[in-house]
């Protein structure tokens, strides 16, 4: 009997104590937010990333796997600014998890902590896939990552108060290291300033603003509209007047338009990882920017 009560007490204690130590489930819509949550949360978070760097974030479906993961999530980390408008609201509606609905502490939108660029001057679908709030591809500027990190660390502490000190400590360490890394990237990329580039999709607005590159043209005639031979010919004419060094595309995009223009306008096609996992080198947030800068420098040679 004593044996049993001892066993029972241990079991009861385990039940009471375990939840405090269990990692919280983070549902990140994009690989960069998954990576950031891991930097800030360490062992305290179990991160599920809904998409990969090789997928077009605009065109994800509310897949069964996403609904299942959102059901058990304690925190949803999304980009916002309408990037996930086609699928995240539906996933959250079907998951039956009120903790992660917009407006709850369990729902975090990175774009609300960053000043967005490229707000459309005309809100009209005739202008292509425009986002009313501004360009949502904020992760291409590491200073945005720093801003989001500050807010995300506070949010992790709010959602999981038992481990608040851990999140604060990890944030402090990350912030220091990240700022040093930004300084390093800015030094390395200084020669790139003013380099004229062409982009396939307007996906690099923040990167281009950060590094001071000069966008000569976009291959897509309108954002999200696949280039045609006619539209590429127009870009070619622009490039004859104003030549560029390289044409940038994200890892998830098809290479045909970039190749087409690269062959005719003699500029270098550069594939950027765009987010964590976009190529073999971009394994985490640090190597994402190491690799991005290395590829840009190679393209500018």
């Amino acid at each position: 009997m004593r044996e049993f009560s001892k066993w029972f007490m241990t079991a009861a204690l385990a039940v009471v104590l375990l939840p405090a130590h269990a990692a919280i489930n983070v549902f990140a819509t994009m690989p960069e937010w998954g990576a950031l949550a891991e930097e800030l949360g360490g062992d305290q978070v179990k991160v599920y990333v809904a998409t990969t760097a090789l997928q077009d974030a605009h065109h994800i479906e509310a897949k069964p796997s996403l609904i299942a993961r959102a059901r058990s999530a304690d925190l949803v980390v999304a980009t916002g600014a309408e990037l996930e408008v086609g699928w995240l609201p539906l996933v959250l509606q079907q998951a039956g998890n009120p903790n992660v609905r917009p407006g709850q502490p369990g729902y975090f939108e990175a774009a609300t902590f960053v000043s967005l660029l490229d707000k459309p001057t005309r809100l009209d679908r005739a202008e292509g896939d425009v986002h009313a709030a501004g360009d949502p591809h904020i992760q291409t500027d590491p200073r945005n990552i720093a801003r989001v990190a500050t807010a995300l660390a506070a949010r992790l502490a709010a959602v999981d108060p038992a481990n608040a000190d851990t999140y604060r400590a990890r944030y402090k360490a990350f912030d220091e290291k990240w700022r040093a890394a930004i300084a390093k990237w800015e030094r390395e990329s200084a020669p790139l300033k003013g380099t004229p580039v062409v982009v396939q999709h307007k996906a690099f607005t923040y990167l281009i603003a950060w590094l001071g590159l000069d966008t000569v043209a976009a291959l897509e005639p309108k954002p999200g509209v696949e280039p045609t031979t006619a539209s590429l010919t127009e870009v070619l004419a622009t490039l004859q007047r104003k030549p560029a060094k390289m044409v940038l595309r994200a890892a998830y995009q098809g290479d045909r338009p970039s190749q087409w223009i690269a062959e005719r306008a003699s500029l270098k096609p550069v594939v950027l990882p765009f987010t964590v996992g976009g190529d073999a080198e971009a394994k985490d947030l640090y190597s994402l920017f190491d690799d991005t800068i290395a590829r840009l420098r190679k393209g500018a040679e």
């Binding site: 299942a68 309408e82 699928w87 679908r125 608040a164």
Partner: protein
């Protein structure tokens, strides 16, 4: 932001500093410290953001040696012109679907009917020639902190208006529970919940046409439960009035339709996603008007009263290299229906053939379709569909001399090609060979457009 505890504690501090420590417990103090720290962090973040913005503004203001093309007008400093007025700020999302087509039908659509399979009187391939198809208006929004609502009104080309869906959702329940109530497309099967403009072919597969009159709508309530597992396991049950085919309005206080369904789904690697399901639906009907070809080749009007049990097995598999469906993708989808009906059947119920007769009726029938759609390059897709009805051996009782015809299974083969220049528009060309009855085959050509405007629609799996 300021909890009552914090305010109380601060008040106490201001009044009598030496007593503050005694007034607040250790736990309170820790909480207060936490809150102050959080406030500090939040303000630091904001200040940093402001500093960064200032820096960016300074950089932008500095002359940048003509890097900006002269033709580019300066961007406006704010988007305040889009700010909604107070009156419209709470307007729901509005989405509109516009559709129209050209249809070449070799056979007269008035003669549409399947060998030995009763179908609803309004099931036809549509009109011949140029025509407007169904237009749709959807309004949706959160109602409050507990509910969300959605209304879809369908405007038919004959100027009639129909409430296609009008439902409320409870959004605040925990544990994966999602209740829905009102009028909604039933969750049975796979395609049933999808609106017609989202289908990969212009028309519904034969089992949907024959056993559901196109699509089964519930007027009632649904409860879904998502299990807390990494693999999606979803269970649902519905109760409704059963007014829609295969049920009918019954002038009764009791429910006329019950259903239960289960879905499982997940991913296989990054490239494949799947979902499979089993569903069951029971409906009651009284004087349900339908049509059935008779031995003389007439499309006779029939009237059915009784119970119908429908079981569906469905699956869908979607594949895209690396899960990036924008360039190329493939989907394979199929559903199998079993339908058992028993009750009374009145042959020639409108008396137009002068042979009106009522007797018992029972049938065990099935039907299925299998379709594949391949996006072979951005914007372009091709599709192939095969569907079939198995008449079983219906027992017509005394009506047998009028109705029993040959053992022939209606079947159809369809091919389609569509062009989707953006997420919001699609133009489709479709050809079908529909073998409805022995010696009665229809060749159908469709050219169709679908335009979507307004609020961004959901990418349903």
């Amino acid at each position: 932001m300021f909890s009552p505890k914090l305010v109380r504690a601060l008040g106490t501090c201001a009044l009598c500093v030496p007593l503050a420590a005694a007034a607040a417990t250790d736990a309170d103090l820790t909480e207060i410290r936490d809150q102050i720290r959080q406030m500090k962090e939040s303000y630091e973040a904001r200040i940093r953001a402001l500093e960064d913005r200032l820096k960016a503004a300074e950089a932008a203001a500095a002359p940048s040696a003509g890097a900006v093309p002269a033709a580019e007008p300066p961007a406006p400093s704010s988007a305040s012109s889009y700010a909604a007025s107070t009156l419209s700020a709470f307007n729901p999302g509005i989405a509109v679907v516009l559709q129209g087509n050209y249809q070449y039908l070799k056979q007269d659509p008035a003669l549409y009917g399947f060998n030995n399979v009763q179908i609803g009187e309004d099931v036809t391939p549509g009109r011949r020639g140029l025509g407007l198809a169904e237009s749709e208006i959807t309004l949706f929004a959160n109602v409050d902190h507990l509910f969300a609502g959605s209304l879809t009104v369908s405007l038919a080309p004959d100027n009639s208006v129909e409430v296609e869906e009008a439902y409320g959702l409870v959004t605040a329940l925990p544990y994966g529970l999602v209740p829905k109530f009102g009028r909604f497309f039933s969750g049975v099967g796979y395609m049933n919940e999808q609106h017609q403009h989202a289908w990969d072919f212009q028309d519904a597969p034969l089992p949907y046409q024959a056993f559901f009159g196109g699509q089964f709508t519930q007027d009632g309530a649904q409860l879904k439960w998502v299990a807390p597992t990494d693999l999606l396991l979803e269970f649902g049950a519905e109760i409704g009035n059963g007014d829609a085919f295969p049920g009918s309005p019954r002038n009764s206080n009791s429910a006329g339709a019950w259903s239960a369904f289960m879905h499982a789904g997940g991913d296989v690697g990054a490239s494949s996603s799947w979902r499979a399901g089993v569903s069951y639906l029971e409906t009651r009907a009284v004087d349900r008007v339908g049509k059935l070809p008779d031995t003389d080749g007439n499309i006779a009007q029939t009237s059915f009263g009784g119970t119908t049990h429908t079981t569906i097995v469905d699956f869908i598999w979607k594949y895209a290299p690396d899960g990036n469906a924008t360039r190329t993708n493939f989907k394979l989808q199929g559903e199998y229906f079993w339908q058992r009906a028993s009750g009374d059947l009145t042959y020639d119920s409108d008396g137009s053939l002068g042979r009106t007769n009522t007797d018992t009726y029972s049938a065990n029938q099935s039907g299925w379709y299998l379709q594949g759609v391949w996006q072979f390059m951005p914007m372009w897709r091709v599709g192939l569909r095969y569907d079939r009805l198995n008449q079983g051996s219906p027992d017509y009782g005394d009506n047998a001399p009028f109705l029993a015809t040959s053992a022939f299974s209606p079947q159809r083969t369809t091919v389609m090609l569509d062009w989707t220049p953006s997420e919001f528009s699609r133009i489709r060309l479709q050809y079908a060979q529909n073998k409805e009855r022995p010696d009665f085959t229809d060749n159908q050509f469709f050219l169709q457009y679908i335009l979507t405007l307004g609020a961004h629609g959901a990418h349903k799996f």
